[in-house]
């Protein structure tokens, strides 16, 4: 592909993907709270309403369960809705439609229908929005067969994965970290897809495999640079998809490095790193492991309001560096 590559922010990349999908297919519509004239709580839909009109950029009432359910019903019957939750925390209001309906409908009906709905979940901490607006809930949906769950970490990937999601016949859940929205990166023009279910090695290394998700990919890469200066060579894998998880890429890497650390923002217990760790511990890579599998996840607390506490509640670069150093040096 020879498409020109520009620097776009993560939110611009999402917006561009949605615009391309809507241009290409009349059935694609956007639904969500304040995505119209307001442009979305994080200005992701921006001015798309001017281009596609209120019938295709639909402001919903504040009704997450019903709104998600309408999107599900529309998807089953022929539309291709992209539904925005204003904050991923509000998924808690719509789990019934996401999990009991969208995820299971095809199965319960023996294959008679598909549910091509895309849902977008702005998540994560770091904005001072406190406990009910800062959660990372991807593990919940990652636990649910019938869903695909992705967490793109770069503008390039979020555009390509969103376009893959829209083309997917099954429900795809996209977790977007709010602190990524302003992050810039190269994004090709036009249509392209990044496959769902494939992790990406962001940095090759020999001494340790770090598998990270979303914003933590960038923190892990930053930590890897510090460690490189100390002579430690860290491989950083961007998991990108929570369900289905890319077993091969992770296991191959661990076989090479013999050490695994998982870095994720969701609560540590029963978070994404638990699955990564367990997946490796039951695989053929087990025999290659030279050290315990370390997880750096979110603290076992709600996200606090105070900014210093808030930072302390999720992995930060110095902590990643320290934990990786200990792991490589055999201090644990």
């Amino acid at each position: 592909m020879d498409a020109a590559v520009r620097e776009l922010s993560y939110s611009q990349a999402i917006q561009e993907a949605m615009a391309i999908a809507m241009e290409a297919d009349e059935r694609v519509i956007l639904m969500g709270e304040d995505i119209g004239v307001y442009g979305g709580a994080f200005q992701v839909t921006g001015d798309l309403i001017d281009r596609f009109g209120p019938d295709r950029v639909m402001d919903t009432p504040i009704s997450e369960l019903g709104g998600a359910g309408v999107a599900v019903g529309a998807a089953v019957t022929g539309l291709r809705p992209i539904f925005e939750f204003q904050f991923s925390d509000f998924a808690a209001l719509a789990m019934e439609q996401i999990v009991n309906q969208a995820a299971k409908m095809r199965y319960m009906l023996g294959g008679a229908v598909s549910v091509p709905v895309v849902m977008r979940f702005p998540g994560g901490s770091g904005t001072g929005a406190a406990a009910q607006h800062s959660q990372s809930l991807e593990a919940w949906l990652g636990h649910v067969p019938g869903l695909k769950v992705i967490q793109p970490a770069t503008p390039h990937d979020v555009k390509g994965m969103l376009l893959a999601a829209v083309a997917d016949p099954d429900p795809v859940m996209i977790f977007e970290h709010k602190l990524l929205y302003k992050m810039k990166g190269p994004v090709p023009e036009g249509h392209y897809t990044v496959p769902i279910g494939k992790a990406e090695v962001r940095r090759e290394g020999r001494d340790l495999t770090v598998v990270a998700t979303s914003l933590m990919v960038h923190k892990a890469l930053e930590a890897a640079e510090t460690l490189a200066a100390e002579g430690m060579d860290v491989e950083v894998i961007d998991l990108r998809t929570i369900r289905p998880m890319d077993r091969e890429t992770v296991i191959e890497s661990v076989k090479k490095t013999s050490r695994l650390m998982c870095v994720y923002e969701g609560v540590k217990t029963l978070g994404v790193g638990a699955e990564l760790s367990a997946m490796v511990a039951e695989s053929e890579a087990f025999d290659y492991l030279d050290a315990p599998i370390v997880r750096l996840g979110g603290a076992e607390t709600p996200i606090p309001y105070n900014p210093e506490l808030e930072k302390a509640a999720v992995p930060q670069v110095p902590g990643i560096v320290a934990a990786a150093r200990d792991l490589i040096r055999g201090a644990r």
Partner: protein
């Protein structure tokens, strides 16, 4: 399937004072409706018996006594119109046009069933005749029906979505959100509350802060109509009006069908919450099939022996359906994970 265009054929009877359906629909449609009402009842009796014999597992919710509601609502619908149904959904499925063979097969957990044996009674569906499925979640189908109506409006298909739900479901938040959105967006959807007086064991008096569910329509600025859900013509008339309104683009309606289920809530019901008298009264004095048959005879549309013939043909269809189900293959264990995701080329 009954088509709205059927109404254009010669009506079954003349006379300004006749109830709606006799003025609107030809004889075949009316007899077809009777046959389906019998089919619903016999299907459920057959399913009940098969359950007792251990041929069907799980649980089931029988709608015996509510046949006029299912049939009357579906009468004005075309095959293209879509419904969402409930845990008590066998009647909706048959009324909308499903084949009892494949329904039995589903209940028997066979690959020939509508859900390839994955869904059972609580998820019975027939997408080919527009039934998007029963739902194990009370109120689960409400927003989904609104979504179907959104598709119809956006893609200008002319379809109408009909959403069945129970009196108990009207207290779910999903009811509120769905009706509000349908009204704000003027979507072609008809909400049909089958009020059989109880949500499981809880009477509407103890669960619902309003006398009639239809009274809540005002909170969504849509028409709310109450009908005797055991009188086929009354139900069909209300449905016809709401469906036509929806097709004209005037938005949603709410119909409340007052009815009654003869059986317990499900297969585990000690029946402590209703009196024998109440049940007897409904069964003896308000049976929807008997009342419909009486009218058909009274208005000279069918004779007793014709009705008898319908019953006999239904009995045959049921027996054949059960045989088909028994003879059908069970799914392979190896296929457990089929249909979780859409198989892509």
């Amino acid at each position: 399937m009954a088509k709205t265009t059927a109404a254009k054929a010669a009506p079954a009877a003349e006379g300004g004072n006749l109830p709606f359906i006799y003025r609107e629909y030809p004889r075949e449609t009316l007899l077809g409706a009777l046959r389906k009402m019998h089919l619903i009842r016999k299907f459920e009796e057959g399913a009940e018996e098969s359950y007792m014999r251990g041929l069907i597992h799980g649980t089931m919710h029988l709608s015996i006594g509510q046949e006029a509601s299912a049939m009357g609502i579906c009468l004005p619908l075309t095959n293209d119109d879509q419904i969402t149904s409930t845990h008590r959904g066998h009647g909706h499925c048959i009324a909308k046009g499903a084949d009892v063979k494949r329904m039995f097969a589903e209940f028997f957990g066979k690959t020939t069933g509508y859900c390839a044996g994955r869904g059972g009674s609580m998820h019975i569906a027939d997408v080919t005749t527009g039934n998007l499925g029963a739902n194990g979640i009370v109120g689960g189908g409400l927003p989904i029906a609104v979504g179907a109506a959104l598709t119809a409006k956006r893609l200008k298909t002319g379809k109408v979505a009909v959403c069945f739900f129970g009196d108990g479901a009207n207290n779910e938040g999903a009811f509120h959100e769905a009706l509000n959105m349908a009204s704000v967006w003027k979507l072609p959807v008809v909400f049909v509350c089958e009020n059989n007086k109880y949500g499981m064991s809880t009477s509407t008096e103890r669960s619902t802060a309003v006398a009639n569910i239809a009274d809540r329509a005002a909170a969504y600025s849509m028409p709310g109509v109450i009908v005797d859900g055991n009188v086929l013509s009354d139900v069909a008339e209300a449905s016809h009006a709401a469906v036509e309104r929806a097709r004209r683009g005037e938005g949603p309606s709410l119909i409340e069908c007052k009815t009654y289920r003869y059986r317990g809530h499900s297969k585990s019901d000690r029946n402590r919450y209703r009196t024998k008298d109440e049940i007897d009264d409904w069964m003896s004095n308000r049976d929807p099939i008997e009342r419909y048959e009486a009218q058909l005879v009274e208005f000279g549309i069918a004779k007793a022996d014709e009705i008898e013939a319908i019953r006999a043909s239904v009995a045959e269809e049921i027996a054949a359906g059960i045989e088909f189900a028994k003879a059908s293959p069970a799914p392979e264990i190896a296929d457990l994970a089929n249909y979780v995701y859409t198989e892509q080329a």
